[in-house]
């Protein structure tokens, strides 16, 4: 037993913060201690390609719910409300597809241009709709995590107009980088 705080603070994973929860759950094969799951209020918008992305996301005290904004055959925007039960049903349906490997949420690059409605809902709210266990295990899938991030445009969202204007002078780099190998690299 080491008593010096500067040598060890990792008893029972307390010093591992939120990482400790996952570590413990994987090692013991048990479900991680349930955290209070934050329910979500989502605004999900259909894109011109027919796919959906989340444009607003707010934590809510009440049950999870969503506004679905779609275009009808005449190009008019319609809005419909979806309650938690309906969202859960869609998320469960998509989760079935994850398990048999057909869900676009676990495909590489699936979410870059939005996904179907069920996939979008699962991608952004799996934890609050289906529980932490499923949410965490999905987020450990790299493609899912990537699709989850790219199907959610709500964070600190700004108007499309200001976005277009601002981005005109900005540059991105690293396009030709050769450091894309999967081997261990910078350790020296």
């Amino acid at each position: 037993m080491i008593n010096n705080k500067h040598i060890s603070s990792i008893a029972s994973g307390i010093g591992l913060g939120s990482a400790g929860v996952l570590m413990m759950s994987v090692l013991t094969g048990c479900e991680a201690p349930q955290q209070e799951q934050q329910n979500r209020f989502l605004v999900i918008e259909q894109q011109t390609n027919g796919k959906y992305i989340v444009v607003e996301e707010m934590p809510t005290e009440g049950p999870s719910r969503a506004i679905i904004r779609e275009k009808d055959a005449n190009g008019n925007t319609t809005e419909r409300f979806m309650n938690e039960t309906e969202m859960k049903a869609l998320a469960e349906q998509e989760y079935q597809k994850v398990q048999n490997g057909t869900s676009e949420t676990v495909q590489d690059g699936g979410g870059s241009a939005g996904m179907g409605l069920a996939g979008t809902i699962l991608a952004v709210a799996a934890g609050s709709l289906l529980g932490n266990m499923i949410g965490n295990s999905l987020m450990n899938n790299k493609n899912f995590a990537k699709n989850s991030a790219s199907s959610n445009k709500s964070a600190y969202s700004r108007s499309a107009a200001s976005r277009a204007k601002k981005s005109s002078s900005k540059k991105s780099f690293f396009g030709s980088s050769s450091r894309t190998s999967s081997s261990r690299s910078y350790g020296s």
């Binding site: 500067h6 990792i10 996952l22 991030a149 964070a155 991105s172 690293f174 910078y186 350790g187």
Partner: protein
């Protein structure tokens, strides 16, 4: 002699569930050893003290380099000198974490500094989480480890706000500033390392996000993710010297961003001074009596066995072991041959019964905070193995 304890290994599927996918090396061998190095508590204390004292020496040496304009000697790219100086001038450019590679420390052997990975250290996931999991998986007391890494780095993120004050003041001073974390796409190890750092910062209380380097946008007004959200802090797991050489326009933009105080970049540019192996020559000049330093020079050393290294070499590439008679005993090639060379007195690593050699990696985040080992042969390269430790 290094004493080892045999372990039941974690199988690959469990490792992957933990988010650790780089468990197998390119030759098919396991990267994570199924043994632990035994150390005593006094050896752990000695590694702790060494990490703290060596860091203090590096800080003094960096000040000396800047005052005396010795950037060329260290091989620092000219287009980073300005940003290095600017980052050094203000404490808000806080060094989050680094890793010292050390020889010795076991069986009464003196601890000797091999080098300081101050800019983009990996081995973090393995040290902070995996070696803890190995003890837990084997029903051992997980407190018997020098391993505060997760908590120490999380606390050090808070110091971006509190600086030298108590980190308990973070909550009252933090005003929602956001940190963007970036690594290159399609490199699992770097991404997992970067996302782990993000998790540590989130636990500290920061708003954080992740964006691949390729999708991160820059102009003189700041740093933006793919959705044009602006960030006050940017952590990049990408070497400063590679930005200087491969993306010189970005080096200029980042210098302007620092000048205009639009964002703070982590690890700060001055960590490239620490990263340069040329610093070990400066350390020798400034602290000739330090027990931690091996004799190091910009010229070949006379009459002793020595190691030639590139100032910004990584993973043992472009390294030569030269015998006292001048013959090359062993050498590796690699992409770093264009960098300046330094010559460091040779030291034996501790060995196990099979003759494998062990190098200690001590992590530093405001203070020394944990350690692990790498096992390999004469030159530790990217086929070296990760070995956890236990305090007995």
């Amino acid at each position: 002699m290094v004493t080892l304890q045999k372990l039941n290994p974690l199988d690959d599927s469990k490792l992957e569930e933990l988010g650790f996918s780089w468990h197998t090396d390119s030759d098919g061998s396991k990267y994570v050893s199924d043994e632990l190095v035994e150390i005593s508590s006094s050896e752990a204390e000695a590694y702790y003290t060494a990490g703290n004292e060596i860091y203090d020496m590096y800080v003094e040496a960096a000040e000396y380099v800047i005052e005396n304009d010795l950037f060329f000697d260290l091989g620092i790219p000219f287009n980073l000198i300005d940003i290095i100086k600017k980052s050094w001038e203000n404490d808000v450019h806080w060094h989050i974490y680094g890793r010292f590679d050390l020889a010795g420390g076991i069986d009464g052997e003196d601890i000797k500094l091999i080098e300081f990975n101050a800019d983009t250290p990996t081995g973090l996931f393995e040290t902070a989480l995996l070696q803890w999991a190995l003890l837990k998986h084997n029903n051992m007391d997980e407190e018997n480890q020098f391993n505060n890494v997760y908590e120490a780095i999380s606390e050090n993120f808070k110091r971006l706000i509190t600086l030298f004050d108590e980190t308990s003041k973070f909550d009252s001073r933090y005003d929602g500033w956001k940190i963007l974390f970036s690594s290159i796409a399609e490199n699992d190890e770097e991404e997992a390392t970067t996302r782990l750092l993000q998790q540590m910062a989130t636990d500290a209380g920061f708003n954080t996000s992740f964006e691949y380097l390729e999708n991160t946008h820059f102009d003189d007004n700041g740093i933006f993710d793919a959705h044009e959200n602006n960030y006050e802090y940017w952590f990049k797991l990408y070497p400063w010297e590679d930005i200087a050489h491969d993306e010189p326009e970005l080096a200029t933009t980042l210098t302007n961003i620092i000048q205009n105080q639009k964002a703070i970049i982590l690890n700060p540019a001055y960590t490239l001074l620490f990263q340069s192996k040329g610093m070990m020559k400066i350390l020798c000049d400034l602290f000739p009596d330090s027990p931690y330093l091996l004799k190091t020079s910009y010229e070949p050393l006379d009459g002793i066995k020595q190691v030639e290294k590139a100032v910004f070499g990584r993973e043992g590439a472009n390294t030569k072991i030269i015998n006292a008679d001048g013959n090359v005993a062993e050498q590796t090639d690699g992409p770093y041959d264009n960098y300046k060379k330094v010559y460091q007195e040779y030291v034996e690593f501790p060995k196990d019964v099979k003759g494998n050699k062990y190098q200690a990696g001590v992590f530093f985040a405001y203070e020394a905070c944990g350690m692990s080992f790498r096992k390999g042969s004469e030159i530790m390269d990217n086929m070296s193995k990760f070995v956890g430790h236990v305090i007995v």
